[in-house]
């Protein structure tokens, strides 16, 4: 008797969970497929392997930044500094490799460590000094933009002395094993970062606390959890991931461009939101974020193939963001 009731209850829950979390992902995934279908009908060039690889390549940087932003947004915070932090980390890599001529692994570690350090500063401002995330990271965004320009002397730093540096994002490790699948390393890094982040968010105590902070921070604190510490860690991890994005973009351009970076944070946040992560915190998935980032890239790429003017591409992206969030709200109501 009870077992039947329990089973019934469980199926109800499963369907409820399905409609809660998976729906948005399916919706986002369906829109991604629909977009791709529309573009492939509109232009025969769209489905060309080179173009698809180009789309993935273009997603790599924004995707990694969006993953970084997902961590913070799940806690109910926001990080406006991901774009300029990425640039700052690229410049740090340039300083280590080109100015100081240190070996490449040192440069890589330095870029990621710089990102993590800056993230921990943001986290400390927010957790310990109680500065609202929006303001703290707005300040960090400008501060890092300025620092990147100061350190580089406002000029790009080229990686000509480190011939293997472009390999980070441009060569294809997969392609060298499976010649028919020449996926660039930058994309491979994106997927590795995404899988690792997804694992961390769902399977570790750190991930659990990330969601809990966004769900009810005070209840977590009163459970004896050191909320300030975990919040700082969230921003630190997010910053470290921005460092990885910095390496990818620097490798792709074979240079650290200090003026770049501003505006990337909004694309990243857009990807997170399209992917169904709640800006009020407590819910979100990495898979959703990746799909969100892909939607933006497919849109940009497809509209360019159709020779739609750049200005209009931005308009369309804006509309998509609003539609995505509205779809999410409709779904929650239902």
């Amino acid at each position: 008797m009870t077992t039947i009731a329990e089973k019934e209850a469980q199926t109800v829950i499963k369907s409820a969970a399905f409609s809660q979390g998976a729906w948005q992902k399916i919706l986002a995934f369906a829109s991604l497929i629909a977009l791709m279908a529309v573009f492939s009908v509109a232009s025969e060039n769209f489905l060309q392997p080179d173009n698809l690889i180009g789309i993935l390549q273009a997603t790599a940087v924004n995707g990694v930044l969006a993953v970084a932003a997902t961590f913070v947004i799940i806690t109910g915070g926001i990080d406006l500094s991901v774009g300029t932090l990425m640039t700052f980390c690229a410049v740090i890599a340039g300083v280590f490799l080109t100015y100081w001529g240190l070996p490449m692994p040192v440069g890589i570690v330095a870029a990621i460590a710089a990102g993590a350090l800056c993230g921990s500063v943001s986290g400390t401002l927010i957790a310990k000094m109680k500065i609202p995330p929006f303001i703290a990271t707005l300040g960090m965004m400008m501060l890092l933009k300025g620092l990147a320009l100061v350190i580089s002397g406002t000029r790009p730093i080229y990686f000509n002395d480190t011939p293997s540096f472009p390999l980070i994002s441009q060569e294809s490790l997969i392609g060298s094993i499976l010649p028919f699948l020449p996926i660039p390393n930058g994309v491979l890094i994106l997927f590795m970062v995404a899988i690792a982040s997804s694992f961390v968010l769902t399977r570790t105590a750190f991930g659990r606390y990330t969601f809990a902070l966004g769900s009810n921070e005070e209840a977590v604190r009163l459970s004896g959890v050191n909320t300030d510490f975990w919040k700082i860690i969230v921003y630190t991890v997010s910053g470290g991931i921005c460092g990885i994005a910095g390496l990818i973009i620097a490798s792709r351009l074979n240079s650290a461009q200090p003026a770049l970076g501003q505006g990337y944070e909004l694309d990243a946040i857009a990807a997170v939101v399209i992917g169904g992560t709640s800006l009020s915190g407590g819910r979100g998935t990495i898979l959703g974020t990746i799909i969100g980032a892909l939607i933006i890239s497919v849109l940009t790429n497809g509209l360019r193939i159709l020779s739609v003017a750049q200005e209009w591409q931005t308009v369309v992206t804006g509309v998509i963001i609003i539609l995505a969030v509205y779809a999410d709200i409709l779904r929650r109501k239902a």
Binding site: A17, F211, A219, V220, S223, G224
Partner: protein
Amino acid sequence: MTPLVVIKDLDKSFPGVKALKKARFELLPGEVHALMGENGAGKSTLMKVLAGIYRKDAGEICIEGVALDIPSPRAAQDLGISIIHQELNLMNDLTAAQNIFIGREPKRFGGLLLDEEALNRAAAEIFERMHLKLDPRVEVGQLTVAKQQMIEIAKALSFKSRVLIMDEPTAALNNAEIGELFSIIRKLRAQGVGIVYISHKMDELKEISDRVTVMRDGEYVGTVPTAAASVDTIISMMVGRSLTEEKTEVPDLSSHDVVLEVRNLRRSNVIQDVSFKLRKGEILGFAGLMGAGRTEVARAIFGADPLDGGEILIRGRPVTIRSPQDAVRLGIGYLSEDRKRFGLATGMDVAANIVMPCLGRFLSMNMFLKKRAIREMARSCIRQLRIKTPSDAQEVRFLSGGNQQKIVIAKWLARDCEILFFDEPTRGIDVGAKNEIYKLLNTLAAEGRAIVMISSELPEILRMSHRIAVMCEGRLTGELLAERATQEDIMRLATQRHSLTTTTANAATEGSTT
């Protein structure tokens, strides 16, 4: 007489929970109709459907004989139906008058400008009708919970409501304030307003209500005239079985170790020189009126709020507690009176909430969650405390208040704390679940845990405590032994203002430490 409200065969489901099954209800004009039932019985849900907050799945609602659909709270207001929620919904930064007339502000100059004067005048008139002394221009956030409740009632009155639904209106009120509330209810009844009164407090229902409708598990059980029904009848209708209320036997604890000792605790004027001892296996009741500083003492010991001074000793050793984290490490647990704000992450599932304070125990390599062990822990708590939930993966926000409270208790049981502070553990909980929680407290004490129970309900304090500490205005005004204490003794200490305390309190303390 045409009934104001008739509800027939109402169904309502939420994900995973069938909240109402063919529910029925009837309200006459000029009647106070009590709605009773255990937690999760569907009382609040039924009333929220009536107030347009939830849409019904099936069934019929008739207002004065006309079958209607109530699609929104606005539509309910237009029909003259107002609801005062258990959790107050006021904008703390606006004034009392602004809160009452939000969305219906009187305007000047063809609707361009707000007419603050007319607004305040209208609010003052309502207050006068309620015999409430309150400045309409005061910011709501500055008021006590009781006063805020009065503003909710004033707001309902301003709609010229014919149906007024009150969900646990007295949960945060003291006796004098309850008296005021009842006199207002009686006036409204005389004016022909129909009042739905949801409460768990039997004595209040006996005093104020005309009829009682009982619900159980989302279903209608029956309706009886209050005067003709005994408390036992109502309780047995609610729980489907009869309950016995028995006083706990106070064990001899003099040989037990003192696990917690607090000396001269101070924080500005909310905690003034509070000292007490707590023995292993003891239940120390903390009595007092609202705002006496009991919650503040618990939060300060737990490290949730900073202290100005004082010593805390655990098992005889002085300790420093700077954060809840320190407290939990020392084996102290705190169950907040406001479980939604401080106790639960309601958007997360049951299992995640239960293991929150002890997640460290469910990690492999100090990092990775042991999902299976977490679920097993959660399931054993669900069984042990008889938490009504479809599964351990259910989000806590879909559960009823009593079951949410059990999850907060489960959190600290899972953590295996030696010293537990229960702050109003049975607030908003029905009789059946209350009894279960009392049994639980007794079991915990018998296992050797030391318990501080803060409660505003005197019968509860008298029934459960081994020893009673009474606070008034931030000071400990006395300690009583439970066997000899009466409600009158407690009230005397709870209302003992500063000028009187010094001598009597000392006498009382001396009397109890022996």
